[in-house]
């Protein structure tokens, strides 16, 4: 009846998830190290030390521990390929970031996080529509108690202080329904995508008695203080510009272009960032996108020829565009013109909502790493950008700092710190402080 942490099933999972041929437990070892590095003591590690020698199973743990340590030490030089495999960056959760909101404001489902040129963190959340009656008592009639939805868009400084917050304004401006991704361009303007349809409720979340009529599927550009400047999509848009369930937006300011992950149309659509004019589009493998249904994802089937749910479009400094195909459990890489380059399947066995929700690049000039938000498995994967191999991960499911529920957005500041947003019932934004390389040498 006592604690049996690090049990065999758990280890089996670690290996099945992360192991690759010829590496034994190596990747599992990195995962353990990464977990320790983000500020938590692994309970099982302490238990391991205490119990070695006390139980028969202790010997097994000891052997495993030795393998882990050895494999990790040998990792960089053990094979030709691994020579080039870089050490994964390490992070530690800041449990007290951001500072508490004032006015009894609470966050709804957080669907977008991005960092601007001043290292300010912009957060997009779904507000009242995503809050249960017992989370928004102050706006009910009559009021029942705490609390009030925070404005849709919040800007924090790196210390976690709320700098600004707004929900948008302008002529004919309608509060967007089911907002998703957020981006800030080089002029400091704020772009958001909104699907216009309330997301299905997972878990014990709010169930509006009467769902609101669908809103516009749109991409909106706001000034930094929330005045609407441009709208792409919406009910009146022409065929090329009509969006269906757009989930994310990225801006290539140098090229004057905005990329939209237009999930329902199974495409990436590129628009002029000044006029909003449609420029080009592509589907999975750079092919012509086709709407319609796909057979449900199966890990044993051939990868789908269309995007299942295009969930991000992350543009690297070297001009490569990384697309999250969330429920396809994959990343596809393109040139900016839509030429297909390659794909990587990430945690192929993942069903449900899929494994690839959002991508951010590490802050080094080469952008050596990709950080992938995996909301289904509730962690952040660290991939070598060159090989697209997963080399480490951090996080686990839960409500405590450093844990996640439906982590769906990830962003990086100039210092290499990671910010995450949790959607659905997660309703948080968290900061993971990048630990300097010097501290890595002190490990194991």
């Amino acid at each position: 009846m006592r604690n049996t942490c690090c049990n065999s099933r758990d280890d089996a999972y670690t290996v099945a998830r992360q192991g690759s041929p010829g590496r034994g437990f190596g990747i599992g070892g990195i995962e353990v190290a990464a977990l320790q590095q983000y500020g938590w003591h692994l309970p099982c590690e302490e238990d391991m030390r205490e119990r070695i020698g006390k139980r028969a199973i202790g010997g097994l743990f000891a052997a495993l521990l030795v393998v882990l340590v050895l494999t990790e030490k040998r990792l960089p030089g053990s094979t030709e390929h691994e020579k080039s495999a870089p050490h994964a960056p390490k992070f530690q959760v800041d449990p007290l970031w951001p500072l508490p909101l004032t006015n009894h404001w609470v966050l709804g489902s957080v669907t977008g996080v991005t960092v601007d040129a001043e290292d300010h963190i912009w957060v997009l959340q779904q507000g009242a529509d995503s809050l249960g009656a017992n989370e928004k008592g102050a706006i009910l009639v009559p009021p029942t108690g705490c609390c009030e939805p925070a404005p849709l868009i919040l800007e924090f400084d790196a210390a976690g202080k709320l700098m600004a917050s707004w929900s948008g304004s302008g002529e004919d401006y309608e509060y967007p329904l089911s907002p998703g991704g957020i981006a800030v361009d080089s002029r400091g303007n704020v772009w958001i995508a909104a699907t216009g349809e309330l997301a299905p409720v997972i878990g014990f979340g709010p169930r509006p008695a009467k769902p609101p009529p669908p809103g516009d599927a749109e991409v909106l550009e706001f000034s930094s203080v929330g005045r609407v400047l441009l709208k792409i999509g919406g009910k009146k848009a022409d065929q090329d510009s009509k969006l269906e369930g757009p989930l994310a937006v990225s801006v290539d300011s140098a090229a004057g272009e905005v990329y939209v992950a237009d999930s329902g149309n199974r495409r990436i659509a590129v628009f002029d960032d000044a006029s909003g004019a449609f420029k080009r589009q592509w589907g999975a493998y750079g092919e012509k996108p086709e709407g319609g249904n796909l057979a449900p994802y199966s890990p044993s089937a051939e990868p789908a020829k269309q995007f299942r749910s295009a969930n991000c479009a992350a543009i690297a400094k070297d001009g490569l565009v990384y697309i999250c195909d969330r429920q396809g459990d994959r990343i596809q890489v393109f040139h900016k013109d839509g030429t297909y380059l390659k794909e990587a399947i990430v945690l192929k066995a993942t069903l449900g909502e899929g494994s690839v929700w959002d991508i951010a690049f590490s802050s080094d000039p080469q952008q050596q790493f990709l950080y992938v938000a995996d909301g289904q498995d509730k962690n952040i994967l660290i991939l070598d950008r060159n090989s697209l191999e997963t080399i480490a991960s951090f996080g686990q499911g839960g409500r405590y700092p450093g844990e996640f529920y439906a982590v769906g957005s990830v962003a990086v500041d100039s210092k290499g710190n990671i910010y995450t947003g949790e959607t659905s019932e997660g309703k948080r934004v968290q900061k993971f402080v990048h630990l300097p390389a010097a501290s890595l040498a002190q490990g194991h």
């Binding site: 009846m1 604690n3 049996t4 942490c5 049990n7 099933r9 758990d10 999972y13 998830r17 977990l35 500020g39 938590w40 692994l42 309970p43 099982c44 302490e46 449990p95 007290l96 951001p98 500072l99 508490p100 004032t102 009894h104 966050l107 249960g132 009656a133 017992n134 989370e135 008592g137 009559p142 009021p143 029942t144 108690g145 705490c146 609390c147 202080k161 997972i202 878990g203 014990f204 979340g205 066995a349 993942t350 069903l351 449900g352 494994s355 289904q376 498995d377 509730k378 962690n379 686990q396 499911g397 839960g398 409500r399 405590y400 700092p401 439906a406 659905s424 019932e425 997660g426 948080r428």
Partner: protein, 397 residues
């Protein structure tokens, strides 16, 4: 000359009186209490990294009970079956992901936050509640569990290792608030070390406090609000402007006996505490955040760790805070917490307990699903009625 001096003295008095009045107002503002005395209250800081992460990709559901044992270990009970498909992916067939699995319902943490024990769930010889609710470690070290599922009419007693000891009442046998063998969806249990009597908060269906023999389960006495004979008639919705209800509303959510033998009952949806003698004699009542509607303001209470139990800590899952009350007057001195998912914030703060060092532990139901620790930092002058999340002073807003 005299007249002049009198005038001077007089005007000095006026100035003094005005100054005093202003000073008094200022003091009153900062002490949040009537009069000009400085009010002291226990101060707390959240420990944002307590407890340590659960092993085995275990995940907590609605967490609806907390109790601290003689070793200062913290016991919680949660509802594994409340996990959504997005949370128990590894338990599905086929697994839709690696995260997560249902943690066992009873979890024991040491004071440092390490998980040191876990058990619970259906077994032979007893009827595990359909929806477990409330956990109490009694003075003998045994663990009591209630339940508020549709047919739950029983309470259970186990050893700390999870060995079944006793069941009182039987699933599906609820007989209303005047039945003497079964309960009606029990919220919480308290065991009196002096008399070996268990006080049952009964509950989510019945409208009473029941006292039973903690060993035999024999019913000894029970009563409703104001000590009335309990009555199960429908009271309708709580209306803060109506005269106080003459019966408890559902749920009767706590019944805690103080060292000086006063019983404090949480009448949650009626937004009030009622105080009784152990024999059921009504002493007094106090309304808390009386305009609170829906699920009400008085969810659970714990006494401060001093022998006099000078303070009551009251969890209000409607307004998402913990109030600190003076136990003798039942006045609110201050409060901490706010709505949200960060450390020191709450969503459905449901249960509360203190350890021997005066630290507070809280659990959250609904989508809160946490246990949090608030470290006792000694007495401090009260400066705010509403402190917000009690973050370490280096990091607060």
């Amino acid at each position: 000359m005299n007249a002049k001096r009198d005038a001077l003295v007089g005007s000095s008095f006026v100035v003094l009186v005005v100054a005093l009045a202003i000073a008094q107002k200022l003091v009153a503002k900062t002490t949040a209490a009537p009069g000009n005395r400085v009010v002291m209250a226990p101060r707390f800081e959240v420990d944002p990294l307590w407890p340590k992460p659960l092993p085995n990709h275990w995940y907590q559901g609605m967490t609806i009970g907390v109790s601290v044992d003689a070793k200062d270990d913290v016991w919680i009970v949660h509802r594994p079956d409340t996990l959504s498909p997005a949370e128990d992916a590894a338990d599905q067939n086929p697994p839709s992901g690696t995260c997560c699995s249902k943690a066992p319902p009873v979890l024991e943490f040491d004071p440092a936050g390490n998980l040191i024990g876990h058990w619970g769930g259906p077994g032979t010889g007893y009827e595990w509640p359909e929806s477990n609710h409330g956990i109490t470690v009694d003075y003998k070290g045994n663990i009591w569990i209630g339940g508020n599922g549709r047919d739950d009419a029983q309470v259970l007693k186990f050893t700390q290792d999870g060995k079944f000891l006793a069941q009182f009442g039987h699933e599906g046998h609820n007989g209303g608030s005047n039945n003497t063998e079964n309960f009606g969806r029990v919220a919480k249990i308290f065991v009196d070390p002096k008399t070996n009597e268990a006080y049952i908060s009964d509950g989510y269906l019945n409208h009473r406090v029941v006292v039973i023999d903690a060993d035999t389960g024999k019913f000894k006495r029970f009563w409703g609000a104001y000590g009335h004979k309990p009555d199960d008639s429908n009271l309708g919705r709580y209306n803060p402007d109506a005269p106080p209800a003459q019966q408890f509303r559902n749920p009767v959510h706590c019944a805690e006996l103080s060292n000086d033998r006063l019983l404090y009952v949480c009448d949650r949806v009626n937004d009030r505490i009622q105080v009784f003698r152990p024999d059921g004699t009504f002493v007094k009542e106090q309304f808390i955040a009386r305009r609170s509607l829906a699920d009400g303001s008085v969810w659970d209470i714990a006494f401060s760790g001093d022998p006099e139990q000078k303070y009551i800590y009251l969890a209000d899952g409607r307004n998402e805070k913990v109030y600190i009350l003076l136990r003798d007057t039942l006045e609110i001195v201050t409060s901490f917490g706010d709505g949200g998912r960060q450390p020191g914030e709450f969503y459905g703060v449901h249960s509360i307990a203190t350890d021997s060092k005066g630290n507070i532990y809280t659990t959250e139901t609904y989508e809160g699903r946490r246990v949090q620790k608030f470290v006792y930092k000694g007495l401090a002058p009260v400066t705010k009625l509403d402190q917000g999340p009690p973050w370490p002073s280096s990091r607060s807003n």
